[in-house]
């Protein structure tokens, strides 16, 4: 197993996240530095991560994909992705991993729909209806991908996606990859760093909803595609 952490200007939190992963899980960590202008790469190295740096900012999803590409290149699977701002509970990596081992699902989403604001919940429900996806937590960055999912997500088609949510999930669902959700803990992001890349201002919200809607309609999938795990 390998943990992929996409990071853009996360110098205040990234080292702690990497060290926690070493302490709790003890598996290799790749930090994908998405063209940060601060000391994110250095801090991650000090924490003990391998660091892969984009020369230019390419967006959160492309950073994750670089991590997947890296793992695939070195034939390491499965892959856990989580955010560099410390909002995900490192101990819950084992929850994702156990679910993967038990169910064999190629995608396990660490899900925490309770964290969403009222507005975000409405947006999610709208996108669920539009896309036919039955995943509860559409935007969670805390996920586990098995080798088959990685193969699909490292394809060139997946390079045109912008966010690790609707587009990625639809691509997997349309290829018949089963998606499983397990409840995990999530924390508030620290106020100054790690701002939400999507829901931070109205222009971005509208653009995001428009992109996701067009994508959702054009790639809509039919049938049940998500199982909710209630255990743990």
């Amino acid at each position: 197993m390998i943990v992929v952490v996409p990071a853009y200007n996360e110098e205040t939190t990234i080292r702690k996240v990497v060290e926690r992963i070493w302490d709790v899980v003890g598996c290799p960590v790749v930090v994908v530095d998405d063209g940060s202008s601060d000391r994110t790469a250095q801090e991650a190295l000090i924490g003990g991560a391998m660091v892969v740096s984009h020369g230019k900012r390419l967006g959160a999803w492309t950073a994750i994909q670089t991590g997947l590409l890296f793992a695939r290149h070195h034939r390491i699977a499965p892959i856990v992705t989580l955010d560099g701002d410390g909002q995900h509970e490192i101990e819950d990596i084992s929850v994702l991993y156990d679910t993967y081992r038990r169910t064999g699902a190629q995608v396990v989403i660490g899900s925490c729909p309770e964290r969403a604001s009222k507005l975000r919940k409405i947006a999610w429900r709208f996108l669920r209806t539009l896309t036919g996806l039955s995943v509860q937590d559409l935007t969670s960055g805390f996920r586990l991908y098995g080798p088959k999912a990685v193969e699909i997500l490292t394809s060139k088609e997946a390079l045109l996606l912008d966010y690790q949510d609707v587009g990625v999930l639809l691509m997997l669902a349309n290829k018949g990859i089963p998606i499983v959700e397990v409840p995990v803990r999530m924390y508030e992001r620290p106020k100054q760093s790690g701002h939400s890349r999507v829901f931070n201002n109205w222009g971005a919200v509208i653009r995001y909803m428009m992109h996701s809607s067009v994508y959702g309609v054009s790639k809509r999938c039919f049938g049940n595609n998500s199982k909710k795990e209630v255990s743990q």
Partner: protein, 114 residues
């Protein structure tokens, strides 16, 4: 008469410009075929304006200038769409190259670890 000359001049001007751009390495040959066809059509309409009337009648259009502009407009839309497709392809290529480079330049030793 002047309509003929204008169209002829435009057609020839486009053709000459394109050949000049290829000669100076400003444009890939792949992208020039389209513009040369446009230049040829423009020149043909200039030399033989009655072709528009003839083709319009084939398609059942009574007022030839409408037909002329519709075809021109559609042709432009197709060209612009193709440009967006090409941009998307290039964006993918650039992203993949940046990813490959990042992986090749991987760092894994912190200064204090080594």
């Amino acid at each position: 008469m002047s309509y003929r000359i204008t169209s002829m001049v435009i057609g020839l001007f486009i053709a000459v410009t394109i050949i000049f751009l290829v000669r100076k390495d400003y444009i890939h040959v792949r992208h020039t075929i389209w513009w040369l066809v446009v230049a040829a059509c423009s020149a043909i309409v200039g030399f033989f304006p009655e072709t528009v009337d003839l083709v319009a009648r084939w398609f059942g259009v009574n007022y030839p200038p409408t037909f002329f502009f519709s075809v021109g407009f559609a042709a432009m839309l197709i060209k612009i769409l193709r440009m967006d497709i090409e941009f998307s392809r290039q964006e993918r290529e650039i992203k993949r190259l940046t990813q490959r480079l990042a992986i090749l330049e991987k760092r894994d030793r912190a200064p204090e670890d080594s």
